[in-house]
């Protein structure tokens, strides 16, 4: 389900949900879409909800371990999948490096909560906020929050991964993310969508 809600409406709600966004520099990139979430978006996909739980609600690439329903998911399971399937490697710095693309894994006391993908040209970080919009924010800290399990926040950045642009091209991720970005650009231009 896709909803083109106004930027003012989205801003009001997102400011309540993620307090750090109040003072941050960010903007909407896509409409609200319940068809995918941040993990899928980090993997450049917009057609499924990705999560390593053994349940029909979620997709997880075949061959990678799945967890029982309600089990906390450790950062290591995401690192393993992104390393083996998408060619990422662990790294320390979140700064933009020419020729490399990065993703960040957020976690709280119960495990993984969110993922953000670095803009291809390093203009910031792309985050699909649950079922809500995809936003571009300048810093990873813009969406960080309380790491306690019941806080309803993303916690803190637990791991940065990076891969070369060539790997992104070979694994078709660049094509997929560019196609999605083009689709969103068309939405912004063609559909009467209040983005002010």
């Amino acid at each position: 389900m896709i909803v083109f809600r106004s930027a003012a409406e989205a801003r009001n709600q997102l400011h309540q949900e993620i307090p750090n966004l109040v003072t941050a520099n960010w903007r909407l990139k896509s409409p609200l879409d319940t068809g995918y979430q941040c993990i899928a978006w980090a993997a450049s996909r917009t057609d499924r909800v990705w999560w390593p739980w053994d349940h029909p609600r979620f997709y997880w690439p075949p061959g990678f371990p799945k967890f029982q329903l309600l089990a906390p998911v450790p950062v290591s399971s995401f690192v393993e999948m992104f390393e083996q399937r998408f060619g990422y490697r662990k790294c320390q710095s979140n700064a933009f490096e020419f020729g490399f693309q990065k993703v960040a894994i957020y976690a709280n006391d119960l495990g993984v909560t969110h993922m953000a993908r670095q803009h291809f040209w390093g203009r910031g970080w792309l985050s699909k906020l649950g079922e809500e919009e995809d936003i571009l924010h300048l810093k990873l800290a813009d969406i960080q929050g309380d790491p306690s399990p019941n806080a309803g926040q993303y916690g803190e950045v637990a791991q940065i991964l990076k891969r070369s642009w060539w790997t992104a091209i070979v694994r078709l991720c660049l094509f997929r993310s560019s196609w999605a970005a083009f689709k969103f650009w068309v939405y912004r231009r063609v559909i009467p969508w209040d983005l002010k």
Binding site: T34, R48, W51, V73, L110, V112
Partner: protein, 175 residues
């Protein structure tokens, strides 16, 4: 000057070791309790027990009052309570990607509590809500009904999941 001792010297001296005793190392004899004193002690113990029972009764009365108030709050129709909790759950967890975080929310737990009371009614409400608002009840529905109407190729596809569950609801004549 030789008679003056420092505190350390005094603590190490035999006089200090005998401090509090009557000058010898024999243990103090046990204090004898008079018969009238034993009676007093029994009465005191009885009074303590009575006080505890009184406090327990007061607590039970207070709990009754609280339960009555809760029952009065929950007296509203199930549909109204479900809608209120579902709206709150969506409003406060829509930005979360982790299903565990979403399921830990108090409103979600409240809805599960409603399902424990009136399972069939809650399943029907969830299917109707799925139809009208496309809210994600598929995890709860599969838990409550122990059914899986979704084919493996559609795992993770929200629209297909919703269609599959609505078809299942129609087949079961719930909606």
């Amino acid at each position: 000057m030789e008679d003056v001792m420092t505190i350390g010297q005094w603590l190490r001296s035999p006089r200090a070791r005998r401090w509090g005793t009557d000058g010898d190392d024999r243990p103090m004899p046990k204090k004898r309790v008079a018969p009238w004193d034993q009676q007093t002690r029994k009465l005191t113990a009885r009074a303590v027990r009575r006080e505890r029972i009184r406090q327990w009764a007061l607590k039970a009365q207070l709990e009754d009052v609280l339960v009555q108030r809760l029952v009065r709050v929950d007296d509203r129709p199930l549909e109204e309570r479900f809608k209120e909790q579902a709206d709150k759950w969506q409003r406060e967890t829509q930005h979360l990607s982790s299903p565990l975080q979403r399921m830990l929310h108090a409103s979600y737990q409240a809805i599960l509590g409603m399902a424990a009371e009136r399972k069939q009614d809650v399943i029907r409400l969830m299917l109707r809500d799925l139809q009208s608002n496309k809210r994600d009840w598929t995890l709860t529905l599969s838990y409550l009904t122990q059914a899986n109407p979704v084919s493996a190729k559609d795992y993770g596809r929200t629209d297909k999941l919703i269609d599959a569950w609505l078809s299942w609801g129609r087949e079961q004549k719930i909606i």
